[in-house]
């Protein structure tokens, strides 16, 4: 199906601003915790949640001077749609030394859509340890949830139709920062 090109929903500057804002929100919220920032762990969901988590950590350090642990959790083996969409290559799972027990884990992903990736990530976390609390940060929330899941930190809420596709490009993976909405289901 032909895809109609549309102007970017978020430009590189917008993405940078949004990341900065979420970093500030994380500092505010986590700073109210008893032990302060260090107990925070940012866990990215591959592919694009991983570089986002690293960026957030870098911004938090720039703003507050506190270095925050970062990890990634691959959710492929926890997905409920493997039978429908087939197997795929795995990505890495790396947790900070000391694990996630009794810490505040913030899952980081690029797009929040059905909520199934987040459910898979929650299942994965349960096998990895017992965090004190789990929160969710996303760059784009496009609606159409199929599970009772919501994000604690949202970069941008974007009303979309199911036939549209939201594409997030990040410099670390795609060479450029932008968020696009395209017509036509994949």
């Amino acid at each position: 199906m032909a895809r109609t090109p549309q102007p970017a929903l978020l430009s590189a500057a917008d993405v940078a601003r949004v990341v900065d804002r979420i970093a500030h929100q994380l500092i505010e919220r986590a700073a109210t915790a008893a032990d302060g920032l260090p107990q925070l762990v940012l866990v990215g969901i591959p592919t694009r949640g991983a570089p986002l988590a690293r960026r957030l950590a870098a911004r938090i350090e720039a703003f507050s001077g506190v270095s925050v642990d970062v990890g990634t959790v691959d959710i492929t083996l926890y997905r409920d749609d493997l039978r429908l969409r087939g197997v795929r290559a795995l990505e890495s799972t790396v947790l900070p030394d000391g694990g996630i027990d009794d810490r505040l884990v913030v899952l980081v992903d690029d797009v929040l859509f059905s909520g199934r990736s987040v459910r898979a990530a929650l299942d994965a976390l349960r096998d990895l340890g017992r965090p004190q609390a789990v929160q969710l940060a996303v760059l784009v929330d496009r609606g159409h949830r199929e599970l009772p899941i919501r994000a604690d930190y949202v970069g941008k809420n974007v009303p979309t139709s199911r036939s549209q596709q939201v594409r997030v490009h990040l410099a670390e993976i795609d060479g450029t920062d932008e968020v696009l909405v395209e017509e036509g289901a994949r």
Partner: protein, 306 residues
């Protein structure tokens, strides 16, 4: 990937690399975890169909399937209807009727897994058939080499011993060649198969000449149960000419590793001090076997049934 894994030639370079990468990710994901279990194959049934004795391969497959949350049924020929004369086909159809998604089969007859694959709907994984192939052993060996040396391309692998009866050697030659390694076979002429010249491997008879040019030495087990003819004059002579002892090990390059698929005959093809040395990857191979077989089961059974 193909639906079955029957021989090393079923894997092209991309498939084989995908299996090794997947195994590495699985190992990383499970490292240091308390709950060493993944929900990926929940509700799938894997049947371990073992017509030949096996310790590590059967346990390894069983553990791999269980760590992926599949239901595992172990079937060994002893104590089953096979001893009442049931044929492989009837056994296969019985398992089919019970709804097996994957069948892991070991059989003393070369080609049995191929026959089985045409009778059942699920995926068939060859866990060793006669003197033919043992593809998951080759995968775990390749994984171990890549893990230890960091690469496979251009790695010089010397496989020593009973190549004639060895499914491990056959699968390794093909898989390692696919992955870009250079394989040399060293054996007494009586223990090399007819047509070995057409294999993608060099052939030599002098172990001492080859050792200094080897990054990996893979010792094969002298298969007592298949030594039904005079393949070599005596165990002592075999051991002296083709066994790996400490003196020979010293001739290896500094970072070379020593492998053995197990079970070992200590003092025969490999000296105890070599088997227990830091160069030896024998225990590592067993551990890597579980991750590699998890990768194979995930890739074959994880998606939709075709």
């Amino acid at each position: 990937m193909k639906r079955h894994l029957l021989e090393a030639a079923d894997l092209d370079r991309d498939d084989a690399t995908l299996v090794l990468d997947t195994a590495a990710q699985i190992e990383q994901a499970l490292a240091g975890r308390e709950v060493k279990k993944l929900p990926t194959l929940r509700g799938r049934t894997v049947v371990n169909l073992f017509y030949e004795d096996s310790t590590r391969t059967r346990i390894s497959f069983e553990l791999a399937a269980k760590r992926l949350s599949a239901d595992v049924i172990n079937f060994s020929a002893k104590g089953s209807s096979v001893s009442k004369g049931e044929s492989l086909k009837d056994t296969a159809l019985t398992l089919e009727a019970m709804g097996a998604d994957g069948v892991v089969v070991r059989h003393s007859a070369s080609g049995a897994p191929h026959r089985l694959a045409s009778w059942v709907k699920g995926s068939v994984v060859n866990a060793g058939d006669g003197t033919h192939e043992h593809p998951t052993q080759a995968l775990l060996d390749a994984y171990t080499i890549r893990h230890r040396l960091g690469r496979l391309e251009g790695v010089r692998v010397t496989i020593v011993g009973d190549v004639l009866h060895s499914r491990v050697a056959r699968s390794n030659v093909r898989l390692l060649h696919t992955l870009g390694a250079e394989v040399t076979l060293v054996a007494p002429p009586t223990l090399l198969p007819v047509g070995v010249g057409s294999w993608p491997a060099e052939v030599g008879y002098d172990l001492d000449a080859v050792l200094p040019k080897s990054d990996v030495v893979m010792m094969l087990r002298v298969q007592g149960e298949r030594m039904n003819a005079s393949f070599f004059p005596s165990a002592r002579e075999y051991s002296r000419r083709y066994g790996l002892d400490a003196r020979r090990m010293a001739a290896l390059p500094d970072d070379a590793i020593v492998m053995h698929p197990g079970p070992m005959n200590r003092g025969m093809e490999i000296a105890a001090e070599v088997a227990d040395s830091v160069r030896s990857t024998i225990v590592e191979q067993v551990a890597n076997g579980v991750s590699t077989r998890m990768a194979v089961l995930y890739l074959l059974l994880g998606g939709s049934p075709q």
